[in-house]
């Protein structure tokens, strides 16, 4: 979707402000919010792509106003409501709906380390055959879907060279909408700065972007 989350190349957000000796969390609620997001994901009612898509659908003005973990709060509430895990009415009232069944058992503390150590690989053994090879020149398609995509706007219509073949990976566009994994080759594509930003590009070099086979045409 052409959302405000797709920020690459935008101006006006001001300087980057590094913080010396930054703590992992600045507030306990931020830590609880991260943990709630990870723990509820274990119910497998959604996937990581659907999680990102839920955050992206926060109305733009709210998205920009929220701090990082407020964006996570908004995304998790939307997601839980959409998949029927927790309704918006329950979140608004703070109480389980009358007569609603109690889910059990949730993730236990003893299982957490193994879950995180295992992670959730996106690589798959089988998928669509690849159409491109390392060294080939390609052009990112000019697509503007309303659904989730990981082809950023600043690369659409631009040409680059495939520098690495990452193998077969789950396609987020499909996965985020629960329409299947559609596994296919994922490549790293090198776009020269001048191709992306014009002849007066502010730097000499390139931007490397990981792009799926279906995002690309031969150039």
């Amino acid at each position: 979707m052409n959302g405000v989350h797709d920020m690459g190349g935008m101006h006006g957000f001001g300087p980057v402000r590094p913080e010396a000796n930054e703590p992992v969390f600045h507030h306990r609620w931020e830590a609880r919010m991260l943990a709630l997001t990870l723990a509820t994901a274990a119910w497998r009612k959604w996937n990581i792509d659907a999680g990102r898509f839920a955050r992206e659908r926060t109305p733009p003005a709210d998205y920009l106003r929220y701090s990082y973990f407020e964006r996570w709060y908004a995304g998790l509430c939307r997601l839980m409501d959409e998949v029927g895990l927790v309704s918006a009415a329950e979140i608004a009232s703070g109480r389980p709906a009358p007569g609603s069944a109690k889910a059990t058992p949730p993730v236990r503390a003893a299982d957490v380390k193994a879950i995180l150590d295992k992670g959730g690989p996106s690589a798959r053994d089988h998928g669509r055959p690849g159409r491109f090879r390392v060294g080939q020149r390609v052009r990112a398609r000019n697509i503007n879907p309303e659904h989730h995509t990981r082809l950023p706007r600043y690369a659409r219509g631009k040409s680059g060279v495939i520098v690495r073949d990452h193998g077969i990976h789950v396609l987020p566009d499909s996965s985020a909408s629960f329409k299947g994994e559609d596994p296919q080759p994922l490549y790293n594509v090198r776009f020269e700065a001048a191709e992306l930003w014009g002849d007066d590009a502010p730097f000499r070099g390139a931007v490397h972007i990981d792009l799926w086979d279906c995002y690309l045409d031969a150039a």
Binding site: G8, G9, V16, W29, A109, H169, L186, R190, V207, L211
Partner: protein
């Protein structure tokens, strides 16, 4: 970003603190989460993952040419040799700074970051300022960190749009020939593994 500075000890909790507390209470009542498990997730993020892990990987690559070769051939496997892997580090790629190229990692679309080797991302990495500007004006971003590169150095920016996570392997600082691997690891900063900084000089490490 929130401009208030209330902390856990403040008497009046911020609104997000109240909302998240209410959400946790609801999810516990519904049987969807166990508070002890939430504590375990937080402990993992605060103690098991972090830039000390990545620093060990970089230091090993500096002293062991065979390891360096394995790291650039298959970073996920090479990093697993040192015991690191898992969520948000399932598919790792290492990129080397050289005399001619400086690497910088960003996620313009969200906040993708290699958790096992660097921990959770700092606020600036997740900020709209960094996400928007790193791909169009990396030299300007580096200036915000006090970093200036030679004019002829090329910059390679890595936008983490998939589940591939990037680790920058900075150049080994001069004057470190006599340091052992542990002493070298102490020179490797988090920012040097993102590309917004350099390793410390010998004598500067604490």
């Amino acid at each position: 970003m929130s401009g208030n500075h209330d902390h856990d000890h403040s008497e009046i909790p911020s609104e997000p603190a109240l909302r998240v507390k209410a959400l946790e209470t609801l999810l516990v009542q519904k049987g969807l989460v166990d508070p002890a498990a939430l504590d375990a997730y937080i402990e993992y993020c605060e103690t098991k993952i972090g830039p000390r892990n990545g620093a060990r990987v970089v230091a090993r690559a500096w002293v062991d040419p065979a390891y360096r070769e394995r790291l650039f051939a298959d970073a996920t496997a090479a990093i697993a040799e040192l015991g690191y892997g898992g969520r948000q580090g399932e598919h790792m790629v290492a990129v080397a700074n050289t005399g001619t190229t400086h690497n910088l990692v960003v996620c313009t679309l969200c906040s993708c970051y290699p958790w096992p080797v660097l921990g959770l991302p700092p606020v600036w990495y997740k900020s709209d300022a960094y996400r928007s500007r790193a791909v169009i004006d990396p030299r300007g971003v580096l200036a915000d960190f006090g970093v200036t590169l030679p004019a002829d150095k090329e910059i390679a920016v890595w936008d983490s749009t998939a589940e591939i996570r990037y680790l920058v392997v900075p150049e080994r600082p001069a004057g470190t020939e006599n340091l052992d691997e542990a002493a070298l690891a102490a020179l490797v900063t988090r920012d040097s593994m993102i590309g917004t900084g350099f390793p410390l000089s010998p004598g500067a490490a604490r």
